[in-house]
């Protein structure tokens, strides 16, 4: 029997799968359900200081390549969100709180509040590709990533995981900046900036015109990013992008990820995807002679 338990910067997980931010995580009821369906942890929707409606519809488009979205960071605001985290925690869920803001102060303020709700770690959404004027866009610079990470580290005693964008020249320099800012781990990657056009209407398919691409097309890009990041930093990495099977997850783990996040695959596979991934991962690890997940982390670097 392979031991699927793993640990990221002190956050203990029953298995290496997490719900990726932005999927079924606006409400406590849904997060509880995802955890009960087998996820090792759930990452919340990215929460900001104030309620925010997000963009008008259409906010998602399904493509052969994956899912294109520009939802625009809708969220009920950090104050109201307390009841959702409590509802998820009441079901026993391991919750990681994702936050965003317009500057370092806002990130710190929201993260400090989120920390009081009983989350096990803070994820910093530094990389949403389609929200104007928020830190997600500002954080296109390494020094901003370092500054925002430091600002949050200064006010919370929980592990802090900046989530990085692939829409940059070299993602590893951002990972190094996050590490310098005191990050306890890195989440890579967020969606890839993209667009679809509906020819019959001669207009972009999303109301926001462009958005972020997720799903299978992202996997080789994410695996490469995780592999390269792991060569440059000494903190754990959480891999995300196009994971829908145990084999997909193992690619990330062998590239160096300590855990993985799953989102878009829920559309085609439902919430059973978490159990499906962990079962397949266990079987593949066993076949390859591994007894635990940590033994397999980063083995592709050898």
């Amino acid at each position: 029997m392979v031991d699927l338990r793993t640990e990221v910067a002190g956050v203990r997980l029953r298995n290496p799968t997490m719900l990726a931010s932005g999927f079924l995580d606006e409400t406590g009821g849904s997060m509880a359900r995802v955890y009960e369906a087998g996820a090792g942890a759930v990452v919340t929707k990215s929460i900001g200081p104030q309620p925010r409606e997000g963009y008008p519809n259409p906010t998602i488009v399904e493509l052969d390549a994956g899912l294109l979205n520009a939802v625009g960071l809708p969220n009920p605001g950090i104050v109201e969100y307390e009841q959702e985290v409590k509802r998820a925690r009441a079901a026993g869920a391991v919750v990681i709180g994702s936050v965003f803001g317009k500057d370092a102060d806002e990130y710190a303020t929201v993260a400090a509040k989120m920390a009081t709700y009983g989350v096990k770690a803070i994820e910093l959404n530094l990389s949403c590709p389609h929200a104007k004027g928020l830190g997600t866009e500002i954080a296109q610079h390494e020094d901003a990533v370092q500054e925002f990470t430091r600002a949050v580290k200064d006010v919370v005693s929980l592990p802090v995981f900046p989530k990085l964008s692939p829409n940059v020249q070299d993602i590893t320099t951002f990972a190094v900046a996050a590490e310098k800012g005191g990050a306890d781990g890195i989440v890579a990657i967020n969606t890839l900036k993209a667009m679809a056009i509906t020819p019959e209407l001669k207009m972009p398919s999303l109301a926001n015109r462009f958005g972020g691409l997720s799903g299978p097309a992202l996997r080789p890009i994410g695996v490469r990013a995780v592999y390269d990041i792991c060569e440059k930093v000494h903190i754990p990495v959480i891999g995300v992008g196009g994971i829908g099977s145990g084999r997909d997850a193992l690619e990330y783990i062998m590239a160096g990820a300590s855990a993985v996040q799953v989102g878009t695959a829920i559309i085609s596979k439902g919430l059973g995807v978490f159990n499906e991934i962990t079962k397949e991962m266990a079987s593949l690890l066993e076949d390859a002679g591994f007894r635990s997940v940590p033994e397999a982390i980063g083995v592709a670097h050898a």
Partner: protein, 258 residues
């Protein structure tokens, strides 16, 4: 293959002063109770129940907000985007069915009313509206069985709310199941009535949606999703719900009064 089809409207029919039916040809299946995500280009994308199945499909929409108001100005030849069908399906149980519709809610049930009648069931429909001129699909329901009417102002039929009319009907006749769609507090009254009488009930719920495919969490009802677990729920599924009849989520995800 894109999941969105862009289709020209073949016909736009005014059903009531506030409600229009839009017909279009689309090869995408669809069963009674299911819905489409309908893109009104430049304005919005909204979930809308199929009010006509078959080759020439239809949606029937009340003009209640900015986007539906824009849609009301669309004519034959104008194009909309559609994706779906999404959601679960009304199921026929037994031989005698009571359908209870309020306002534009009958639009979500009319395909089931017709389908159940074609399968040989006796279908009694209680149609409610604020006033006589807002009654929807009375003739179509009548062609599939028996129709009873309730108006808030008494301008036609029973004066009062449609759940009170439904209560009279279940006192008079034994039904094997009840279908309902309409304002949520109305449906709650119907579900409570059905539960009290021990009659199985299917209620078609409505929520704001962004994705329609089970990821955005905007349509959550307790820990259920109206888009993929619903839109049709049984009394058992709604039993103990804190949200049904009380709360919905606004666009930011805040829990607000339904």
């Amino acid at each position: 293959m894109p999941r969105i089809q862009v289709v020209p409207l073949l016909e736009v029919v005014r059903e009531t002063p506030t409600t229009m039916t839009y017909r279009f040809r689309a090869d995408l299946g669809g069963q009674p109770g299911q819905f489409l995500m309908v893109w009104i280009p430049r304005y919005d994308e909204l979930p809308m129940a199929l009010s006509y199945l078959g080759a020439v499909k239809g949606i029937t929409v009340r003009d209640y907000g900015d986007a539906t108001h824009m849609l009301a100005a669309f004519n034959a030849g104008d194009r909309i985007g559609i994706r779906g069908p999404y959601g679960n399906v009304f199921r026929l149980q037994g031989e005698k069915v009571l359908a209870v519709g309020g306002g534009s809610g009958t639009a979500s049930m009319i395909a089931a009313i017709e389908s159940f009648a074609q399968q040989g069931a006796r279908v009694v429909t209680a149609v409610g509206a604020k006033a006589a001129n807002e009654l929807l699909f009375v003739e179509r329901a009548n062609a599939s069985g028996e129709v009873h009417i309730a108006t808030d102002d008494g301008s036609r039929g029973f004066k009062g709310f449609v759940p009170a009319l439904a209560e009279k009907l279940v006192e008079r006749e034994k039904f094997d199941q009840i279908l309902t769609c309409g304002p949520e507090r109305m449906m709650k009254a119907v579900v409570d009535l059905a539960r009290k009488r021990g009659i199985p009930v299917q209620a078609s719920l409505e929520r704001y949606m962004k994705c329609g495919i089970g990821i955005c969490d905007a349509c959550s009802l307790d820990d259920q999703l109206v888009c993929v677990d619903g839109p049709i729920f049984t009394a058992e599924q709604l039993e103990g719900s804190e949200d049904f009849g009380h709360f919905r989520r606004d666009k930011s995800g805040r829990r607000v009064a339904a």
